[in-house]
Symmetry: C2
Subunit: 344 residues, 2 copies
């Protein structure tokens, strides 16, 4: 199992060809996902029913032939377990009870993973039983800054007014929230590894709204604390930030094994700036999936050419869109496996 | 007039104190703007009525004591004049007739500024008559890539699916659109200078969605062509991109006199990466305006300390939000003038 090409690439060891998976590969663009989702009823029920979460986790393995599975869940699951009411209203995105002041932190607790998010662990165990032996399973969590953004804004935001307002007004109180989230993420991810996750990804999706200084002072220490606490598990940690170009160096300094890079900077530049000390994941523009095959191939080959010779996991620079054409994704996986082949 | 501190800073010459203006300083956060806007009826009528456009352009000069005025208009005005139907429906943002294929370019023409956007030039003339002599007037236009984004998407977008789809599928056709837009912007901005604009800003607001490579291959050449064509006018050109950190070097290479930097990278890093060859504008996080005065001052002072000793124009890293507190903006301008004072 340890020689699955995905895990080898995470550790910058030689591979037969470049491994590939797709962020949000279990998702709405797949008809099979939509069918399971309809059976589940609402989105949260899908996340909380291990049989169904397992089913959608496995779908892209057969359909796309990707080299890793990622457990199907939502980044707000541990946040709900901390004591905040969560709802997904159709077509609206998440709505979350808000915390906007240090005095409100006392109402939150660090959830016990087995007692309060046991359905995630059960789904992981089921997926592991059903995965082909050469396909590792990735567990995941939101990173503290991104989780904080949902908690403070009460949902998805474009402006992050309350989040940044709190951060400028009371950086100490905001740091307390980040640390509480980091502690939550640590026990949550350790439990995922115990349940069978063979790699972990931290999604700091919204940290790109931060200046390099604030990333360094706020988001990075909380993330570094998590990475450090997970070292003992022996599984590689991947760190993703959309809009990461201002602070690639800081991302590498968190100690993460793999940096997942968006499409705005080339992997050549990312390798140079991180001094080749980490593996790189990424970084094709998800919008290239709408291009004709010839143009798609050109983009895929460009990414492969710009990647380091060892330690590259092909992926998109951001999650796949809900209306992406499945055939293009299938073609992409095939292209990466063919064009990424290494001479023996 | 040439010794107005704003123009001196554009040319990296010594100033008594750091000049400051605010992107979207004539806007909804000002009660006086909302009053004029109500008299105009709809947003486009406000843009197209020189008396009223002049009135809102002048408002922030008295209220905020900023060092430059910027003509009140909309970046889609020249695009409408090219032959595309434009509407602003209340609370919805712009809706624009779309062009998504090279065959549709023939339906567009380069508008004659005096005949087809004469109201902008008349507003510029009126503002110049009414401005204090030490306050220069900035003219502006959208840069080609950002104008193209509205034309192809039909309005504001978050995903730019059609835009990027065209770009990947037919880069040559997409370049033709950019060049047509560049030619439109050139005559439009030259007419603004003839009418009295003393500096020009190009807003490439959405170019931050591009990879560094695509910025270099697509957005940059069209922008560089405009900057080069404007050299003969003798007025400084400011180039703004939100999300500019991947390609600060390329922005400087357009030949622009001033690079307007968002809040994600420090001006110290921007100065280093542009080798001190351009003046810098920016770059406080607009969200710091919601912080208490003490925290706001800290952020303002940080920007001043990170800025080059000559050639800094203080501004936000992005346009001011419609609900920003006016007193905070007034306090900010005062802080910059006080803390930015240079020893004689």
């Amino acid at each position: 199992m340890t020689d699955a090409r995905f895990l080898l690439a995470c550790r910058r060891q030689p591979v037969d060809t470049v491994p590939v998976w797709i962020m949000r590969q279990a998702g709405r663009y797949l008809p099979q996902y939509r069918e399971t989702r309809a059976r589940a009823g609402d989105f949260l029920s899908l996340c909380k029913t291990p049989d169904l979460a397992c089913e959608v986790t496995l779908q892209p393995i057969d359909i796309l032939k990707v080299d890793a599975a990622i457990i199907f869940s939502d980044i707000l699951i541990p946040v709900e377990a901390m004591g905040l009411a969560l709802a997904f209203n159709e077509g609206e995105g998440p709505r979350l009870q808000t915390v906007r002041h240090r005095d409100d932190l006392a109402s939150l607790h660090i959830p016990d993973p087995a007692d309060e998010t046991g359905f995630v662990l059960e789904a992981i165990r089921q997926v592991r039983k059903n995965l082909p032996p050469n396909v590792p399973l990735i567990g995941f969590s939101g990173a503290p800054f991104t989780l904080a953004s949902y908690i403070v804004e009460g949902g998805t935001s474009r402006r992050f007014r309350h989040l940044l307002g709190w951060l400028y007004e009371d950086p100490g109180g905001f740091s307390d929230l980040l640390n509480l989230l980091a502690d939550t993420v640590i026990v949550y991810l350790k439990a995922q590894v115990e349940a069978g996750a063979q790699a972990l990804q931290l999604f700091d999706t919204w940290a790109g709204v931060l200046s390099r200084r604030l990333y360094r002072e706020m988001a990075m220490p909380a993330t570094a604390r998590i990475v450090s606490a997970l070292k003992g598990t022996g599984v590689p940690v991947i760190l993703y930030v959309n809009g990461c170009s201002p602070f690639l160096e800081e991302m590498a300094a968190t100690g993460a094994d793999v940096i997942s890079v968006d499409w705005r900077v080339s992997l050549t530049e990312a390798e140079h700036r991180t001094r080749g000390a980490v593996a790189l994941q990424g970084n094709m523009d998800p919008m290239a999936l709408y291009a004709p095959t010839k143009a798609l191939r050109k983009e895929a080959v460009r990414v492969l050419e710009q990647a380091p010779s060892a330690g590259h996991i092909f992926n998109l620079g951001h999650g796949i869109q809900p209306d992406a054409p499945v055939e293009a994704v299938q073609a992409l996986v095939e292209m990466v496996h063919k064009e990424g082949r290494r001479e023996p």
